[in-house]
Assembly symmetry: C2
Homo-oligomer: 336 residues x 2
């Protein structure tokens, strides 16, 4: 049984931003992004540095929206998919703010918001911090698969790593969207070694977290349950599990479910196979699509779970199963 932390004092979203590349710009959420670089390079010479710069732009944009300077932040938590998470440290160290690096694969957006919420809650001295995550399609292809210039064939179950970053400034001051509960996920065996089908590997973890959370929460009080990047295959597995395994309200949970990996691109015009993935997927969808609707009151209460596949090129080569993980936060509308 996973323990849920319900916050006596919510932590508020003071600002947020979404930055992306070409595919993200022409997708259905593109016009809600704060910045798009159609060349995917963000002025840099390598994909790896482009990702670092993208995360810097994302945080800078979130700061500027509310006229804050880096000195107003007590802490930055951040993570990405590059080996040793160098996109985050390399892109964000210039802000000169205390830094915590995280690794939760594509679940890092929610993990970061969760850890930042805990940091702010645990310390009177801390009033405001930022959580930033990013992924870059070409950096990920080169590192995990082959450089895109090789033109490798992708399987139908493969997902498209988003070139995107989302930055979130959390504060103890009241704003229109808030985090009211969190629950770290368990790392769970995805029972697959197939690195071209990450959605399937993560579906069990998403199911585990959702099932745990709604053992003590009423789904009728929720507008949406949003997962990070299960994609088409993983989402189908999750909904099937919810319907079959949860007595009484599995159908309700399945009907509330949306997946950022299916929201970021338009499958009819974009060749992304099973959908979007990457640390930047759920982060940019949260910033460009979900939070604006929470702020407006269109969404009153949502359970948000980025999903991560815990594996490396080495672990796959050595025959290890891919693990999934799905940390969760509850986001609500309102300042009280």
């Amino acid at each position: 049984m996973q323990k849920i932390t319900y916050l006596e004092n919510p932590i508020y979203f003071e600002s947020f931003s979404a930055v992306g590349g070409y595919e993200e710009g022409r997708g259905p959420l593109g016009e809600n992004f704060d910045f798009i670089d159609e060349k995917d390079l963000f002025g840099m010479k390598t994909w790896e540095r482009a990702e670092a710069e993208m995360s810097r732009i994302a945080l800078n944009t979130a700061l500027k929206k509310v006229n804050l300077s880096p000195d107003d932040l007590n802490i930055i938590v951040a993570g990405d998919l590059q080996n040793q998470c160098v996109a985050s440290s390399g892109g964000l160290f210039t802000f000169g703010v205390p830094f915590l690096g995280l690794y939760g694969a594509c679940s890092t957006c929610t993990e970061g918001l969760l850890v930042l919420t805990a940091m702010l809650t645990s310390s009177k001295n801390y009033t405001r911090g930022a959580s930033v995550t990013s992924s870059h399609n070409c950096a990920a292809e080169r590192q995990f698969r082959t450089p895109i210039e090789y033109g490798g064939q992708r399987t139908p179950s493969a997902q498209w790593t988003a070139t995107a970053s989302g930055a979130f400034i959390l504060s103890k001051e009241k704003h229109e969207a808030k985090i009211t509960a969190f629950m770290p996920g368990k790392a769970i065996d995805g029972y697959t070694k197939d690195a071209t089908n990450m959605g399937a590997a993560m579906a069990l973890a998403a199911f585990d977290s959702i099932a745990s959370f709604f053992q003590e929460n009423n789904p009728d009080e929720y507008d949406l349950i949003i997962t990070g990047d299960l994609g088409r295959i993983g989402s189908d597995i999750l909904r099937e599990l919810l319907r079959e395994k949860i007595k009484g309200f599995g159908e309700k949970l399945a009907s509330l479910h949306r997946d950022c990996g299916l929201l970021l691109y338009d499958k009819n015009i974009q060749d992304v196979h099973s959908g979007a993935s990457g640390c930047g997927c759920s982060a940019s969808v949260l910033a460009s699509h979900v939070l604006p609707r929470v702020v407006s009151g269109e969404i009153k209460r949502v359970l948000f779970l980025s999903t991560g596949a815990l594996m490396s090129a080495s672990s796959v080569f050595q025959g290890d199963h891919i693990l999934g993980i799905a940390p969760a936060i509850r986001i609500e509308h309102g300042t009280s």
Copy 2:
């Protein structure tokens, strides 16, 4: 100015364990380790899996010492040096406990204790958790440099990645050693691109954290300041900086300084060049050497800062500077 969190309610070390390999076993702290595998393989067939198994043994040992089961843990935070931190997730997921993955390079031991302390402090629901970090010499050599079978020459400034893991169980129940304050470090430009001299790259970050901390703390009230793995060169740089840059009590700070990278091995009989490094270095020295002396009361109060070099093979190839980071925790003797 970095913000220090002073805990109204300390978080206590309920149990801890150190596990290591051949070099760690024959080093000066070897007899204090809880488990040594002289073959460095821990029953596995690859170095990568050996590291995962080592971290599993470390946590299992820490649990057994105090007759706890995994179900008694609300959360595990963990990290390592392998790409995508697969040693931690792969070694610890079998405990079935909610999991937060961290990446702070060799600073992950302190980062993990800090994040776990924040998690426990932020939630009434959380009473006990574990922080685990590991590194494996052969896994690190293969990933960052060349497989050891190649017999690559090491530079005099190079450090020896420890084959070691440290596991810590933190609790709100009173025990003889406690965490009373924490301060995340800043990611700071180490002004070097030399991946064979990590100590130098991390020395500035250690200096920054120590200088920040003692702007509002009195060094006369501290028995020791312990850094993670600056090694010989980094330690020399740090002490020189403390003496030169801090007016009034720089010499005092320098005299309090010890480095886990210089404590783990005996330079006279072990060919480790500038000293030990790796996530497992500071973790195993904390568990085998520092905490037992805090529990006994020999050490009353210590500032403990694991040090991390934020870089990857790719970032070094692309000419990026290596960044350093040094999160800090204050550890004190006593149950009150």
